[in-house]
Each structure stands twice: as C-alpha cells, then as structure tokens.
Assembly symmetry: C2
Homo-oligomer: 346 residues x 2
C-alpha cells in the first residue's frame, strides 16, 4: 500500500505547483484558474490518484463512518436490518463498520471501545442478550458519540431508538384469528423476562378481551429458550389437554415451526383443525408452509430508519440541540392462508 500511493504532493511536484493548489483544484475551488484545474484533473486521472481518506478523517475529525453492533449476523431479521443500514449509509456517503457481539456482553463492550477508537461518527446498537450493565454505553455517549438503538434498546433519555410495535402486531394477529372463527386460541410465549415476550403476550391478551373472550391460562405456555424444540414440546402439551386450543399464536418463528411439526405429527390439518399464526418475518413464513399466516417484522425499514436518525444526529452536531426520537415501526400481518376462515366455519 505504501509504494503505489499517489498523493497531491506528487501531482503538485510534477506540475510545479503547491499541494494546496492541487487540493483546491481537485475540489473545484472558485479561486483556482481553469487551466490549473484542467491540468490537475488530467494528471490526477492519468496517475489514477485516489484521495487518502484516512488523512482526511484525521484532519476533519470526522470519519464518515458509522459503527454497527449486531448481536448475530446470521439471523434473518438482523441481516435485513444490516441491509437497510447499509443502503442508507451508502446513499449518504457513509461507511459501515460491522461488529458482531455474538450476544456476549464482554464482546459488546470491546466492540464499542474499538469502534470508538476508530472514531466512528456514531453507532447503531442492538443490545446483546447478556447486557444488563450500561456503563460502557454511557461512557461512549459522554464522549459525545451519538448512538441510536435498534430493536433491543436501553432506556436512555439521550438516545434515539427504533423499535417494533410488538404489542400492536400481536393484537392484530390475534384479532384476525378470532375474526376468522378461532374460538380457543393458545399462545406460545417466549422468555417472560424479555420485553418483547411480554408485549406480545399483552397484545394477545388484549385482543381476546376486546372480543369478550376470556384468557385461559392453560393455553399459555412459557417457553424460555423460544426454540423449535420447545415450541414442539409445548404444542404437544397443549394438544393433549382435555380442551385443547383450536389455534395457536406463536411468539416467534422457530416456535411456530415447532408447533406445525407437533400438529402434523398428530395427524391434524393446518389450518382446518388448528390454525397457526406466528410472530416472524416474511422469510420463515414464505419458506415454511403456505398455511402459516405471520406477523412480519420490518427489519429493512428498521435499519433504514435507524441509519437515517443517526446520520441526522451526526450532521446536526454542534448545530443546536440533538433531536431525540423514538420510532415505533408497525408490523405487517401477512395472511397466507385464505382457507383459514373456511376451515373454521365448518
């Protein structure tokens, strides 16, 4: 990388002008004569001059780079988020440095420090599952680096956030199930200490109440790990009840999948015998089975929105008070099985 570097100095020397003139010519400064500009641009082109952004960054105290900490790259939802971030960042002329916390608190701390040391202009952060201490975050904020949280946030009054409206999404889904004729709707709940589990459960509950149906505790299972296996096991349990549900609302897609397996193994038909709706993203639903209606999480939009907010904050810096926003994105109910109703009416 050393050898073949062309710098403005080289251009200046060759043209018998000073580096600053070259610099100005390159950025079309009004002071510079047309001939000089032409000569400089021609030579720059010829030598294939590429500006050294590192030097620029140091000079301007700005890197045009945003750091993204993601709990797990290999996850459909998160990968859509990254994609949204990347697209917005690209358009705005920002680089994206990606760091994967792998759901580890320690790694999150290290990553944030590394990103700060690289002097990113701002960070997008989704907390690792382990994170319960927030000093590292406060520390970064106190250094004046804007942070925008996405999906998994920390209640900081000084940061913007983008989250999904889990409550509304769950409620909409369950209302839909009821309106399609489901009478006994069970719920596969995930870890009850996570906000998202609680919000989704509340949405489920409120949908039932709104339609004057009562919540049957027996039909609500708490699945800590939220995995395929747990969904399957829990569903089997539900199905073996004396008065089993005729529909299941699953907290996430692995569990919805597990439920499907359990149901199929029992020889029951979806959705005629049992309907399933899962909180998910389009991917699983698309792939799994057309019998799965699902609640789509807007990952791509979340990434875009978070990146937009962050860049706005970065570019507002020094120009007035920072704007703290909280954006709650709506989920979208994707109805894939038109026969759900028919199945329920018979």
């Amino acid at each position: 990388m050393k050898s073949n570097q062309v710098t403005i100095k080289d251009i200046g020397r060759e043209l018998g002008i000073s580096p600053s003139t070259v610099s100005r010519a390159l950025k079309d400064h009004p002071d510079i004569s047309t001939e000089t500009k032409k000569a400089v641009n021609a030579l720059a082109e010829k030598l294939n001059y590429q500006p050294n952004i590192v030097a620029l960054n140091l000079r301007q105290q700005k890197t045009n780079t945003i750091g993204v900490i993601i709990p797990e790259i290999v996850h459909f939802f998160f990968s859509t988020v990254i994609s949204g971030i990347e697209d917005v960042a690209y358009q705005a002329g920002y680089n994206v440095i990606l760091a994967q916390s792998n759901e580890s608190y320690q790694r999150e701390v290290t990553d944030m420090k590394a990103l700060f040391n690289s002097r990113v202009d701002g960070m997008l952060l989704s907390l690792s599952r382990e994170t319960t201490n927030f000093d590292h975050i406060e520390s970064i904020i106190s250094k004046g680096v804007p942070i925008v949280f996405y999906d998994r946030m920390y209640e900081s009054p000084t940061s913007s956030k983008v989250i999904v409206d889990d409550y509304a999404g769950a409620k909409e889904a369950v209302l839909h199930m009821i309106d399609q004729g489901c009478k006994r709707i069970g719920h596969l709940m995930a870890a009850p200490n996570l906000m998202i589990s609680i919000d989704r459960f509340k949405g489920y509950e409120d949908a039932l109440l709104e339609r004057k149906m009562k919540v049957n505790k027996e039909w609500v299972t708490e699945c800590f790990s939220g995995t395929f296996e747990e969904g399957k096991r829990a569903t089997k349990k539900l199905l073996s009840l004396p008065n089993p549900p005729d529909a299941i609302f699953a907290n996430n897609d692995p569990m919805a999948m597990g439920a499907m397996m359990a149901i199929k193994e029992k020889g029951l038909k979806i959705p005629q015998d049992i309907a399933i709706v899962g909180f998910s993203n389009w991917f699983f639903g698309e792939v799994m089975d057309p019998s799965l209606t699902s609640v789509d999480q807007p990952g791509y939009e979340m990434g875009q929105e978070a990146a937009r907010m962050l860049i706005k904050q970065i570019e507002m810096k020094g120009k007035g008070e920072p704007i703290i926003e909280t954006k709650i994105l709506k989920t979208k109910l994707i109805i894939r099985n038109s026969s759900l109703k028919k199945g329920k009416e018979k």
Copy 2:
C-alpha cells in the same frame, strides 16, 4: 467528537512530560522508567484515554481494516460468510467495513474505490452477478491491495480464492439418491451460463454415469432465474411427462421449495412418491420440511477461510512473495429423511 477527545498531549501536559514519552510509556517501551509508566497509565485510565486509531492509521500506513464486498446481505449463505469473516477478523484485531453491491456492477466499482480510498488493508470480494469487466479489480490489485475472492471469483492468477466444490457436492447427493433406490432422477438446473449451475449439473450427470444410468435430457430443466416459481413450474412440467422422474435434484433451495409445492399440490407424497434433494444451506432444509435432504454449503467456513487467507497476505506483505492459494471447500450432505430409502424400496 472534537470536544471530549483526550490525547497523549493532554496527558503529557498534565504530567509535565513530552508526548513522545507518554506514547512510549503507553506501549510499555523498555526505555521508560517504571514510575513514569505508572503515572502515565494511571492518568490515562483516569481520563479514559482512548488512542486515536485514525491518527495511527495515517502514521503507519495501515488501517487494520478489511473491506468486504458482498452481493446481497439478506441471503442466508452470504450472511453466514459475513459472520465467519467477522469472527476471524475480530480475533486478528481487524475491523470489517461492509459494502453491499446489491448485485450491481456499478455499485461494485464504486464500493471498491471507496474501500480503497479508506485504505483498507485488503478486500474480500464476491462478484456481483452483473460483473463481466474486471478492470476495477485489476486496478486495485495493481495498487498493491491484496484481494481474496470468495464464492464468485474472477480467474486472476494473482489472487487467492475460496470456493465451494459444487461438482463434488452435487455428485455425492445424486449418488446418495441412486443408492437410496431412486431410478429416474430429474434435475432443476439454474442459469446455464453460471459456473455453479454447470458444475452442479456435471456432478449430477457424472453420478448417473458412474452408476451406469443414462442421462435423460427430458428430465433436466433449465431455470434461468432459479426462483421458487420457476422451480414449481418446471416441476409441474416434469410431473406431467409420460414417464416422470421419481426424484428431483434441485440446483438451489428456492427451486427445491418450488418443487415441493408442486409435488404437494399434485397430492403426491415426499419422499415416498418423489424424493427431493436440493443444493442449499442448512437453513432452508431445517426450516422447510424434514423430508428435504440437502447439500449444505459451508458459508461460515468460507468466510473464515477467506479472512484468514487475506490477513495472512496482508501480514506477509513485503516479506517475500505473496502466497496465492485456492481453497475448495467441501459441501456436506445433510440427510434428513431416513424414510427415503424405505419409500423407494416398496
């Protein structure tokens, strides 16, 4: 970011010593007295000093950053690759700048230029689908930036590459199908101008030949876009033949999915009536249906391997000839349906 920056100068001033001494103390230089070191480290700790990597990068003409160009982030295979890259880079102390070409040639060119301008130490590149001209790549290589190709490569004698052994993976899969009793194996081929399609087709063909079966052209369909819909349509066509196949080897997972749908819609059973094996990655197979045996593509390993090779090249730079390697990763046949054989035996 300006205001709260603590620099070695600040530490020096406060301690009444020069910046250079601080610098040395911080990196435990043998010349520096123990007391000075102690004082410096204590103050650095207290002020929460974080070295400015940007300055370091400029000074050392090295950024400890690798640039990754990925055709499409929201793609299971590629996201596993990114994850592998990230993990290796992290361990080696490198940052990862991510750029998404979105399968666009123009964007690939722009991205590579931007990465070069950011003075990444090396790049990992998987070509966009559109890319047929390679000048931009040669240009970067000529500037002395090492490039390692992953998955989709350009035949450059000066770059390392990591690819998947599509041929062997396909052959293994089809041999397995034959050995499980399939007699008439069809193939959903993807765009016949892509290397991967051809290699997989060859694997399919050679497996048949090796078992002294003949290749029936009627059973091989060329699906240009390789989508779900195309797989479905092609399978329908195959099934309506007077002598339809009793098994299908699909070039990729969306098509395998499409095939499954078509088969199910016909009221046929998988794998009893028709077996399916798809070239894929574990994800789709895991999610879709336990009846799908699939050829797993080692994306994570590919990412790891590519990052390792690149970092090795970066760190070897100037110390002897660069080592050009080509690594061909084996796929793994994931057999999920033990009843495939039984189904065929009856």
